[in-house]
Subunit: 421 residues, 2 copies
């Protein structure tokens, strides 16, 4: 245990160092930042044995974590290689900093440019996945932001070993160590400091983890937060849906991976398609090993269907369970999603172009899809490269958050002596 | 006085009504929103006598407000006409909603669009200027956001009369009254509700007023805030500045209007220009009636100069007072601004292109200018049309906040049955 005064001093120093390092970073070239990223990838490969040994210590100490938790924590050679390749892919992305996103001249001759600049210092609070150290650190560096990383105590040894490689990369490119800092203590009070005690230093907080972490961050943070609480994603199968396409999209949206935020949690079927589409879709899900909780019409399809309660429409299962309901056409689907959705990702399956456009324009989620799986909710699938997460907020970034979304902008105005009348 | 339970019920109802109205607004066409704006302008002109009579009641009750306060509160025929014209100008702006700001296709055939959507419900908290009712209401409507307006108690009668005209415009275009609501009570506790008790309904808060209001809002708000605390704007006169241009820009930046956030508060002069530029600039300011508070070199120029204290470099005077200091070239200016600035607006005067570019890239403010007055820090001067304010935050909107900055976006993805491998 650290005593409170020491912790405060440590965290304040981390903050000051991050701000100073970020100034250097903002003035560094994109080429220099990329050189650091390349050197990080090389260091991760070179130090694979140390990383795996550190991870082994974490795994031994975390035996009580449960199977899913241990899987999130565990590293192996393939996972270390995937981290290194991820960093190289981030290096290969276009440099977002300095990009001119708008440009115009006023009648008085003033020339305006809107130019991308870094957000500043980003605090990342995560749980057991040690690779977040690497992904988040690399994304922040690419976008010329300083990062302060705070990982879960169960992955601390792994995070330290990975962080050592990131620092080696920074040094190889002549950048300050403090561009990417790892909070050196596992004291839980450090999180409170990042959320509310370092507003002078931290510009944005990105939480990565389960719902209770995100809820705490959203509740306590005194700086802006990029993130999402949950992904209650819907697939709506319209009367004009091609049944084969609907089947393929529903199964993929629910079952490809059940633990990701873009996994479908509720299937809405057009009442006009009850006789044609409902039974085949429900049986296919059941046969694939998915638990189905349905309304009365759905229960009538198969004895294996359980009765859904009001809570089911609100639930992000993150598991092989789906809630199924008949709705009155596209407007019924839009109304259900407005009431129960989490503004994350929703898909309509239909061959009716007018119904599709109505759904796409009226459903007010970060991502709306037509004839495609909700599991495409991912920065990589969007072509953004890696993402630091998905935002369901309406402010600043919405949807996948890649390097562009980790920037702000400023206005550069060039004149020839203009004064305002 | 309203009792607490009644106030809570009133505010919750305002929130629910705003959300419902915003859904209607999001589905309305830009043409329909413009029709409402045109009808509002007509209503403001038609009801000028009622507005002025209401304003007279506010003026009589507010005799103790002081000259500046009374000037902010007072309306006359010209000010009502300016409000009506302002609303027409907002109607004439391009519709931001539905604009596609990026579009691409992935190798798997998925077609992506990023589309502008409204932020949702915007809460505006302002002080004595009754015209904010009109400007803010019109900007929110143009951007398809619902507005909940809370004005100062001293301008309540004026705001009610203006708000009646806005509602008349909404009705004429067939839009719900609740698109623009005015908090019906002057109970100060209503502000607390908007800041922290209506997170379910209000998406963003915009404070318009003095530093103490903004500070309270930033402290208490549980939803994102668009605004700026203060504008400590700098003009830096470089060794390579044309003296005549420097003189014209410095006088304009400080004295054109001293009470606006883009007014210069500190003049930095290159030490290498001490003998050529410092004395003429300081004397010109003094002769124009500006108080000058300077460092030792500046005090040596003229006996009328007062000695600046550390506090002066931190102060937004909003008055005919300027702090003046010699700095060691462009890097000295950059360092001073990094230490004392408020990230609002700074200008460099120089004929040296390299010095200008160094200043423009290294000064990390929302607006940086070369050879132009800081008083151009204004959405109208940027060509954005009206603005709801200027942001010095790095998150979401930075600089002037016009209708485009009052939007969020969503991703619309069109496929042909794609599932994720």
């Amino acid at each position: 245990m650290t005593d409170a005064a020491t912790l405060t001093a440590t965290m304040q120093q981390l903050g000051r160092d991050a701000v100073a390092a970020q100034r250097v970073l903002a003035a560094a070239s994109g080429e220099q930042r990329n050189r650091a990223l390349q050197a990080m990838a090389a260091a991760l490969r070179a130090h694979q044995p140390e990383i795996l040994a550190a991870n082994q210590r974490d795994m031994s100490a975390a035996a009580g974590l449960g199977r899913a938790g241990l899987d999130r924590l565990q590293l192996d050679a393939a996972r270390v290689e995937a981290m290194a390749r991820g960093v190289e892919e981030i290096a290969a992305l276009a440099d977002p900093i300095g990009t001119v996103t708008a440009e115009w001249t006023r009648p008085n001759g003033l020339r305006f440019q809107r130019v991308r600049v870094p957000l500043g210092v980003i605090g990342i609070i995560f749980e057991s996945r040690p690779n977040v150290t690497c992904d988040a650190g690399a994304l922040c560096l690419k976008s010329a932001n300083a990062a302060i990383l705070r990982g879960g105590s169960e992955s601390h040894n792994s995070s330290v070993a990975i962080h050592d490689c990131l620092v080696a990369g920074l040094r190889a490119a002549g950048l300050p160590d403090a561009c990417i800092q790892l909070v050196p203590t596992t004291d839980r009070a450090a999180v409170g400091h990042m959320l509310a005690g370092m507003t002078e230093f931290i510009d944005v907080i990105v939480p990565r983890g389960g719902k209770s972490l995100i809820a705490r961050v959203k509740q306590e943070a005194r700086v802006p937060v990029i993130g999402h609480l949950e992904g209650i994603c819907h697939v709506y199968v319209d009367r004009a849906a091609n049944l084969e396409m609907a089947r393929s999209i529903v199964l993929n949206a629910k079952l490809r991976r059940t633990g990701v935020c873009g996994a479908a949690e509720t299937l809405l079927v057009d009442a006009a398609a009850q006789r044609t589409h409902l039974a085949p879709l429900v049986r296919e899900l059941l046969d694939a090993g998915c638990e189905v909780r349905g309304d009365a019409a759905t229960c009538a399809v198969d004895t294996r269907v359980k009765t859904a309660t009001e809570a089911d429409w609100h639930t992000e299962y993150l598991d092989a369970i789906i809630a199924v309901k008949l709705v009155a056409g596209v407007d019924g689907a839009i109304a259900h999603i407005a009431r129960y959705g989490s503004d994350h990702t929703e898909s309509i399956v239909t061959d009716d172009a007018a119904a599709a456009e109505r759904f796409l324009s009226r459903v007010d989620s970060a991502i709306v899809l037509h004839n495609a799986s909700t599991q495409f909710a991912d920065g990589g699938e969007f072509g953004m490269g890696a993402e630091i997460g998905i935002s369901t907020d309406r402010f600043h970034a919405r949807g996948p958050v890649g390097v562009e979304q980790l920037t702000s902008y400023k206005y550069v105005v060039r004149g020839s002596g203009q004064v305002r009348p």
